[in-house]
Symmetry: none
DNA sequence: TATGAATGAGCATTCATTCAT
DNA sequence: CATGAATGAATGCTCATTCAT
């Protein structure tokens, strides 16, 4: 449990200050333990860092389950699940931390990529495979299709939020982005373009109206 | 000229070690000057860092001019120009550096984004506008189209190479990636899909054959 | 105890080299501790300096008790007590140090004056008040009388020894100085001038003879 | 003339910051010359410091002439001349500077004392001799009498203003201090006590009234 | 096991001083 | 003669790491 507190504190400090910027003293204090205790649990700063990132990677493997439903429903759900996860402030911090250290610790960055985007990618591929099997999508190359989905939906917002640290994701904007991304994706890969695009448009409208009415209430 | 050497050395060190990791001594030594000299040119480490990034941003504004030619020719040229630029090791290092410091220097990261991807984006939009004016593309929302082009073509490889520091861009892979991206883009936005896709396929084949024959020669 | 050693070393170094001249490294070494240890005890150089001076001021408050006896006896004792204290090399060093920093740290100099000469002054006033109450002195203005006593007895030697660092107080000279000072003081303020001056003269003679015989023995 | 500007700037800086605190760069800039030029005139910092103090000492030799007139008139004039000189802010700064460096440069402090208080002392002695010759004072030991005069009149205020840097001499207070000092001095040494004390009292009253009326006018 | 106290090595920065021009 | 540009050597201070308890 003490190691738990230490790892949390370390993630916090590393994320905020970077590897060099974070000091073992600060981590120890923030974890509420003494420095020697900290060193009892983790041999040195590098080890601690590695462990923190390892943990980060392990935690990444979350969103893989895809619900049942129509193609559009599933894509929709899938997209938002990923978006919520990928744009979470702590995930963005972690990503920045990893990239900041990438030149000095190439393994860290690559294994993070494998665990993060990589595993997400696997999920994507599996999901698309399912849709193909169900004759909902027509896909030549699974990998490309998966990449397209990811790129169209999330690469823009993620890039933006990686760089604009204190701008929090804006639901409206995200809706537009995902909505448009899915539209393009369906145009290209759907076996039933017209209907799917209709369904999508309606879905977007529903969410938008809900948002608007919520805003009006205020 | 001395300040030139200092800035180069600083970029080098910062890129390799991060802001905290880079030491003024190391920068001075690597620039072949003494520490006091370094401080004569740059008031302090922060200022030096800021200048280095400023320069980085200034240098980013490069690829904006787009050649004449058929739609596919132009898209092709455009894509490769951007890819070459964005995947250059030094540009990737800079991007990592900026992201690594983003939490502590939000302005740095945001102004980098504005100068880098942001300005690239403007170029993209202008370019697409031209194509629309020439009835080559049919576009609803310019921004979305531009974002799509960028995402489809480059977000995948860039993300990959940001994380895999020592893997150098592989022409084959890139060709596939860009080729596929352009294909999707044309499918969605071209006013003359069939012909354009044909032209594209041919273009890809030509390049691939050239590459193969080059490989065989070796 | 370690902070004791540090403070001693610091007083030493500061006294010998001044605030800027003394280096934290030298203080640490002279105290037999490492620099980080030094910084564990004192937040920074200023704090250390302040503490050293604070201590100096606290130690100053010593000679206030005045013995019983005849007026001349008491004055005599009083004078020598103060002289011994004020002319002690370390007290002179401290005084020089304080004055040397006075322009940059006015509060230091003024609070030193309050604690040092100032508190001595209060003792003087109290003492003279006692003598007045006992009808031994006739005084118009207590403060002036106290100032006169101090000035007549010690201002000359103190000024001299402040400037001549390596001349150690010479008992003979001091005897003359104090003797003469007291004589003037008694002439002006004693209620029993003739007798008191006689007593004083005899006291001086006794001490002088003792000194002479001591010198002869050698 | 350039060396003039340098010396002035150096005195300024040294007085304000002490020897170590003053930087050659700052002195050069404040003198409006470049550092190499500064070094052309003065071999090194020590030399410059020595020269500055030498000059300070030379300038000290000022108040020696004593006007004619009655004993009280002459003492009065004499006292104020010295007081004005000794309490001048720049003289106080110089004194502090010298004392602050005394432990590291004993010769500096002693030669300053010789040139400053020492030479004043000689003036005092000569002056008192004159008064003795004119049967105005009855003095046993010239040196002691001179020391008494100085001590009674100026040691208090000077000590005060050495320590309280930003308190400027207050005419009222000084008047009291000098008035009382002279009173004591006359009581002890005058050959015509009653009359001289009367004259003095009147002199004080006149000055005090003048000051009061001046204050009322405001 | 947990810690207060300690340290060697290093960092950003500044200074007195000196070339090359 | 005067200077812009340069530097070796130090300074105040901090950090990752480790004893002694």
């Amino acid at each position: 449990m003490k190691s738990r507190r230490i790892l949390d504190a370390a993630l916090q400090e590393f994320s905020a200050l970077g590897f060099d910027g974070a000091s073992m003293s600060a981590i120890a204090k923030s974890a509420g333990v003494s420095k020697p205790t900290l060193y009892q649990y983790f041999d040195d700063k590098d080890r601690l860092f590695a462990t923190v990132l390892q943990e980060g990677c392990d935690h990444i493997m979350t969103p893989l389950s895809v619900p049942d439903g129509s193609l559009v429903d599933r894509l929709w759900e899938f997209s938002w699940t990923y978006a919520d996860f990928v744009l979470r402030p702590d995930m963005l911090s972690l990503a920045r931390l990893v990239l900041g250290e990438a030149s000095r610790r190439p393994e860290v960055a690559s294994s993070y990529h494998l665990a993060g985007p990589g595993s997400a990618f696997k999920g994507l591929i599996a999901f698309i495979q399912e849709c193909v099997d169900a004759d909902q999508l027509e896909v030549d190359n699974l990998e490309f299709a998966a990449q397209d989905l990811w790129s169209l939906i999330l690469s823009g917002p993620r890039d933006y939020h990686l760089h604009f640290v204190d701008k929090h994701p804006d639901a409206d904007h995200l809706l537009q982005s995902i909505g448009h991304g899915l539209e393009v994706f369906l145009k290209v890969y759907s076996t039933n373009r017209v209907k799917d695009l209709d369904t999508l448009a309606e879905k977007i409208k529903v969410v938008q109206d809900a948002a608007n009415s919520r805003r009006t209430e205020k």
